[in-house]
């Protein structure tokens, strides 16, 4: 048995603790249950202490972290449930099914709260899918190409791109395959391609749901004698991961058959599950509701019992099986998808059964609520496990001594030490517009139904998606943000920047940020440098949330994202929810009429450190990203929102990847009209024109206004203490940029060709 606990991922200390709690040597079922509940995934051993740093309270918060999803009040008797979750590892093994079941899982978390999912977002990271100029043999930049110290992973020339393309294409298909079938629009998200993710892709899915206050349901079991009801799909051997060592101990000769199987998504069944849950919630038939996610019945039943301070007796032999010969421990930990667990009073049971019957779903009473405080597992009447529910839900904490990663430095790079690329600025600009990290994501979102439910007012492709609220005339804005490169260079600043950028995106469409969900994707937390990245990223995120007065209402932690000992970039993904009272008071990124005045809000100096330009043209990621001035950020976003509400802005666009030049180009392309601008050659601090154009800095927004309101708008900025500078005017068939003595002219057609086709071409180049 001692070898067994270790193979299950438990430490000797934890095993001793289990024996102490149980007062004896644990049974197979118990060991399986403990090992999962005390795993990082379910127990948050390494992250729980840091997560406490997040601000979780606020006037609107109806449910903070601790439930299947967080919930905030949005007025009019309505509330929004939201959460983001990772499915990184399953997607690396089988990208289509891994991504699909990731979407399925997060959707269940939302309707487990009683909310109808109204949109999905997806935040993705893969390895590079095509070479950068810095890595092309004939590259003018090769001379300037440098490898960062401390082992920052740069793309070696001729890297194998096929696997990354395969992962990317199939992940996108899987997300669409599931969300489209569910009738939930996928309206936003992000994707980056960095070598740091080549052994470990990230697939984070977020769902936002809408619920009337009175229909909110929670997962707290209650009422001794009530039924525990399992409904949805049958249970098979899906996703029985590490615990399959339990099988190998006993069934060595049958190991091949007992091999854990990949979870396959069945969105059709989930759609029926969604409808039946909402129907039954409407009529108040559930005492409590919980989806089955990681660790299946084990985690859902023990969490329901622990939250309610009650016990649950569970009968594994009653569970409808897909494969007849499953062992009790397999049934307890199976991760078969599209299943829910509910607590139902005996009086309501017939109604629940009838509704499931109507929707052709299995529905079985698999246990009852008890007053024991224990999760007891029975198989054909024989008790095979008996554990205190609260002990299961309370994994021991692990504390790791923090260590600053070697590659982190205290000062930014000296831009002067970077030999300027031997290429015209216009060429660099077109390359950046076509870069897989920047180019139009249309290829992705045309594979997603982004319109079903008839709420999508601002389509994917803008700063944030905007969904109207049919019930109130208001609107919700949603986006995800997180730049791993930035966080790698400085976790604290990167975490802060992720929240600030997400809030900025929401503000740019006219909505006020009201709640955050997040997914923390990091490497192995047992290593000091990784835990250090995790704790400091959280600190930065928390400070930013506090500055905006926005609570963190839910999230997910995905650790151990490493391959061959190489961790991914530390990647916090922030999901931001914004609220607007009036759907008509909105703004997009598109330039409008010729003659409109273009302005830049914010004056943070653009930097090379961690920029797309540094990565693509110098082949490295190094330095230290600029810090976000949160006070300035809050003021700037306030001005943007006020100007949108007052109808002053024709367009607003956050300046991020690719810097000011790319932001201007995107506003031109989106509006189908050019612009003529004059940029301050001293903005980068170093006198380098390339930095003025492509350097990156937080807290900057490009806006355009009609000439008649330009004066009033500048006065508004001045009054609020927000720096604004007139850059030029909208008009013409090209983007013309003057930087000091240099003139760059980019015809719309050339920019469109690069931007619109960049992603698809990157998938094809050999």
């Amino acid at each position: 048995m001692p070898e067994l606990y270790a193979e299950l991922g438990l430490t000797a200390g934890e095993y001793e603790k289990i024996k102490e709690i149980q007062g004896r040597v644990p049974t197979h079922v118990e060991l399986a249950v403990y090992s999962l509940m005390w795993s990082e995934h379910c127990g948050y051993k390494h992250s729980r202490a840091y997560l406490r740093r997040f601000p979780v309270d606020g006037e609107r918060v109806l449910q903070g972290p601790g439930e299947n999803a967080g919930i905030v009040d949005i007025g009019g008797g309505l509330a929004v449930a939201m959460k983001v979750e990772s499915h990184n590892h399953p997607s690396a093994v089988e990208p289509y099914q891994g991504a699909a079941t990731g979407v399925g899982g997060i959707l269940r978390d939302i309707f487990a709260m009683g909310a109808r999912p109204i949109c999905n977002l997806d935040s993705l990271r893969f390895g590079e899918i095509a070479p950068s100029p810095a890595h092309r043999a004939d590259s003018p930049a090769v001379g300037g190409g440098r490898q960062a110290e401390g082992g920052a992973p740069g793309a070696p020339a001729g890297a194998p791109y096929d696997r990354q393309r395969y992962l990317f294409e199939h992940v996108v298909a899987g997300i669409g395959g599931y969300g489209n079938c569910m009738g939930v629009p996928t309206v936003g998200g992000e994707v980056y391609f960095e070598d740091a993710y080549s052994g470990n892709c990230l697939v984070n899915a977020m769902t936002v749901g809408l619920v009337r206050h009175e229909n909110i349901v929670r997962s707290k079991a209650a009422g001794v004698g009530n039924h525990v009801v399992l409904f949805g799909s049958k249970t098979g051997r899906d996703g029985i991961g590490g615990a399959s060592v339990l099988a190998s101990q006993e069934f060595d000769e049958k190991l091949e058959e007992k091999r854990p199987s990949v979870q396959v998504g069945d969105p059709f069944t989930e759609k029926k599950l969604l409808e039946v849950c909402l129907e039954l919630l409407q009529s108040g038939r559930f005492v409590a509701l919980q989806d089955l996610g990681a660790a299946g019945i084990t985690s859902s039943s023990s969490e329901m019992a622990a939250k309610g301070g009650v016990g649950i007796d569970f009968h594994t032999d009653r569970v409808p099986l897909r494969e007849a010969d499953m062992e009790p421990w397999e049934i307890m930990i199976s991760e078969s998808q599209e299943r829910m667990l509910a607590i139902v009073t005996p009086a309501d049971q017939p109604e629940v059964a009838a509704a499931c019957e109507r929707w052709d779903l299995d529905c079985t009473v698999v246990g009852e609520v008890t007053n024991t405080g224990h999760l007891r597992v029975f198989h054909h009447g024989e008790m095979v496990g008996d554990m205190p529910a609260d002990a299961l839900a309370d994994a021991p904490l692990c504390v790791v001594e923090l260590e600053r990663p070697d590659h982190e430095v205290d000062s930014p790079v000296d831009a002067a030490s970077y030999p300027p690329p031997d290429a015209p600025l216009a060429e660099i600009m077109l390359d950046l517009l076509a870069a897989p990290d920047i180019a139009s994501r249309r290829w992705i979102w045309e594979q997603y139904d982004h319109q079903v439910q008839l709420n999508t007012v601002i389509l994917p492709g803008g700063d944030a998606a905007l969904l109207r609220l049919k019930e109130t005339g208001g609107a919700l804005a949603v986006c995800t943000d997180g730049n791993g490169r930035h966080t790698y260079l400085d976790p604290y600043r990167g975490g802060k920047a992720a929240v600030a950028e997400a809030a900025r995106n929401v503000s740019c469409v006219g909505a006020e940020p009201i709640a955050v969900t997040n997914c923390l994707n990091f490497g192995n937390p047992e290593k000091g440098p990784i835990s250090s990245q995790l704790s400091r990223a959280i600190e930065g995120m928390a400070e930013a949330c506090e500055a905006f007065g926005v609570p963190v209402i839910s999230g997910n932690v995905s650790l151990y994202n490493e391959s061959f000992g190489q961790a991914i970039y530390p990647t916090p993904v922030v999901g931001m929810l914004g609220l607007s009272d009036d759907v008509e008071a909105r703004c997009g990124v598109a330039f409008g009429d010729a003659g409109d005045v273009v302005l830049l809000l914010g004056d943070a100096p653009p930097a090379l450190d961690g920029s797309e330009y540094q990565k693509r043209w110098f082949g490295c990621v190094e330095g230290r990203i600029p810090d976000v001035d949160l006070e300035a950020e809050v003021l700037l976003q306030g001005v943007v929102r006020k100007a949108i509400v007052d109808g002053m802005l024709r367009s607003a666009h956050d300046c991020s990847d690719g810097g000011l030049a790319v932001a201007l180009a995107e506003s031109c392309l989106s509006g189908g009209i050019g612009a003529r601008v004059d940029l301050d050659p001293a903005a980068g601090g170093s006198g380098r024109h390339d930095l003025v154009l492509f350097g990156e800095a937080p807290t900057r927004v490009v806006v355009s206004v009609a000439p008649a309101v330009s004066g009033a708008f500048q006065k508004l900025c001045e009054g609020a203490g927000v720096p604004s500078a007139v850059l030029g005017t909208v008009g013409g068939e090209a983007l013309r940029m003057a930087v000091g003595w240099e003139q760059i002219e980019l015809p719309l057609a050339a920019m469109r060709d690069a931007y619109d086709n960049g992603l698809e071409r990157a998938l094809e180049v050999r």
């Binding site: 098979g236 051997r237 396959v264 998808q337």
Partner: protein, 100 residues
């Protein structure tokens, strides 16, 4: 030239939502007594070459790399020698080769 028939099926134990849905639907159509329905793919192709064992190895590699997804699917295939390209008979010939 060989005519190749490839049979791709969901691996045992792997959920097959299509099969399960068809199985549930059949009784309503008046077909009872059909169970264990699994829906896979049937791929036919013509492969040039005279050396059966070389073609067999090629087809096996093709199945592994493109025609089937070995993580969730099993495959098998038959080979039948044909005279010319024109032949498109539907017969199942040759011996089956189990994949994986």
């Amino acid at each position: 030239m060989f005519k190749v028939s490839v049979y791709v099926t969901p691996k045992a134990g792997i959920l097959d939502p299509q099969g399960a849905t068809v199985e549930r639907a059949l009784p309503a159509l008046g077909f009872s007594g059909a169970i264990d329905i699994r829906v896979g793919r049937f791929i036919t192709l013509l492969v040039e070459g005279d050396d059966e064992s070389a073609v067999r190895a090629d087809v096996d590699a093709m199945c592994r790399r493109l025609l089937a997804n070995p993580i969730i699917e099993d495959y098998s295939f038959d080979l039948a020698s044909v005279d010319g390209i024109g032949d498109d008979g539907n017969g199942i010939g040759g011996e089956a080769e189990a994949g994986e």
